[in-house]
């Protein structure tokens, strides 16, 4: 007994140090696991509130570029609408506009109040959370392309796992055909992501557009991602392709959070054969 007390006396600082380090390590491991709930994240009231105050002040510096992005997007959407109207007026039978009540996705506008892109695992913070019906595992996109997946929400803030994360796995395909692969990031360049495991016979050229495939319940089909920058050299097992992103991940502000209404239905159907 005396020995044990002596031991604790001698190594008390080291044991205290070890205890705190163990707590830190458990936070680190917890943070890297996508499906676990996290304690250390920027979507809480203190950090979220501070980032929101800061972004309210710095917002004015980006007004001009934000307006340009917005008007570009408006023009594009107006053109699509115009095309749809002219097409429907050419066909002379009654069209049941199923889009109005067969809506599959709900878009919510949100603002990025904190953005990281320089680390191997990057996260963003949004100014909306559970009160605005934003939950875990919803897609985050903007007019140019994909940004990430929501991963942790508090009442008023949400944390997004950026596509610039070594954990990110997104189903993607080449525009115009159905060959699909998995989009990952190697942690080197924030303008460049990698498309893995795409079929070898897929006809790919440099400059082809990569978009999201419809294979996931998170991202809608056909959201643009980027263009092919470099094809894989040699016969490696995973046919790796470098993709240059459309989005400049270092300069983001307004985004849309996409909710898939049918997600629960699809997932429950897919999990049925486990029984």
């Amino acid at each position: 007994m005396q020995q044990i007390i002596y031991f604790f006396q001698k190594f008390k600082y080291f044991l205290f140090f070890l205890l705190l380090e163990l707590i830190a390590v458990s936070f680190i491991f917890n943070n890297l696991n996508f499906h676990k709930s996290k304690f250390v994240n920027s979507a809480n009231i203190v950090t979220g509130g501070l980032y929101r105050t800061l972004s309210d002040y710095t917002e004015y510096l980006h007004l001009r570029s934000n307006n340009n992005i917005l008007s570009d997007e408006n023009t594009r959407l107006k053109n699509i609408l115009e095309k749809a109207i002219s097409k429907s007026s050419m066909i002379d039978f009654i069209i049941v506009d199923s889009t109005k009540y067969m809506q599959k996705y709900i878009y919510t506008e949100a603002k990025i109040i904190n953005n990281n892109y320089s680390k191997p695992f990057n996260f963003l913070t949004l100014n909306k959370g559970k009160r605005q019906k934003i939950n875990k595992e919803m897609a985050v996109i903007n007019s140019k392309g994909i940004i990430g997946i929501t991963e942790q929400t508090s009442n008023n803030y949400a944390r997004v796992q950026s596509i610039l994360s070594k954990n990110s796995n997104i189903n993607a395909r080449i525009k115009g055909n159905t060959f699909y692969g998995t989009l990952k990031w190697d942690g080197v360049d924030y303008n460049r992501v990698q498309l893995h495991d795409i079929e070898r016979q897929a006809p790919i050229k440099i400059g082809d557009t990569i978009e999201t495939g419809g294979k996931s319940t998170i991202f809608p089909e056909g959201i643009p991602i980027g263009t092919v920058l470099k094809l894989s050299s040699g016969n490696t097992a995973d046919n790796k392709i470098d993709v240059k992103l459309f989005n400049d991940m270092s300069n983001l502000r307004y985004v849309y959070v996409v909710k898939n209404i049918d997600k629960e239905e699809i997932l429950s159907l897919e999990n049925m054969d486990n029984e």
Partner: protein
């Protein structure tokens, strides 16, 4: 009492300087200095060591909260906070009786330089190893450690020089 308030203000100043300004520098795309570890260098030696370890852990954890890095900053800051005493023994050749009057400002610059460079490099190396979280890209960990350490040290010694000359 006054000294405690000073310590709290220094803690908050370094924390907000780090998360609001220095985390957004992104020099050459990805290099951010981590100046908040100056807290570990300057914290007086004569204080309770349990409290010192705990407050360094909290400083790292708060930086983690803001930069979404899990517990990496907490881990590496605590690590150098624990190692600090052994490096003081090695570089300054102090005995436990000297701790009461130990002050970095009264020590020769060469020794202070060695002490701070060693702790900074250890901190940055642990930080980038955990941030990378795999044994691939070891060259990237080393180059990041090198460049970020240089940036942090230049910033630290510049700020230190300016403040000590004026006062």
């Amino acid at each position: 009492m006054n000294k405690n308030i000073n310590k709290i203000l220094f803690f908050l100043f370094l924390l907000f300087l780090q998360v609001l300004i220095l985390n957004n520098i992104n020099f050459l795309g990805h290099i951010n200095p981590y100046l908040y570890i100056a807290f570990v260098f300057f914290y007086p030696l004569r204080e309770n060591r349990f409290f010192f370890l705990f407050i360094c852990f909290m400083l790292g954890l708060f930086v983690d909260f803001f930069s979404d890095s899990g517990g990496i900053h907490a881990f590496s800051t605590l690590f150098i906070a624990y190692l600090r005493l052994s490096f003081i023994k090695i570089y300054f050749r102090k005995l436990p009786t000297d701790y009461l009057f130990f002050n970095l400002k009264s020590e020769p610059f060469g020794k202070v330089f060695n002490y701070i460079v060693t702790l900074t490099i250890i901190h940055h190396f642990i930080y980038f190893s955990f941030a990378n979280f795999s044994f691939q890209n070891m060259s990237m960990v080393l180059s990041n450690t090198l460049y970020t350490s240089i940036f942090t040290l230049i910033l630290f010694f510049t700020v230190n020089y300016i403040f000590t000359k004026n006062l």
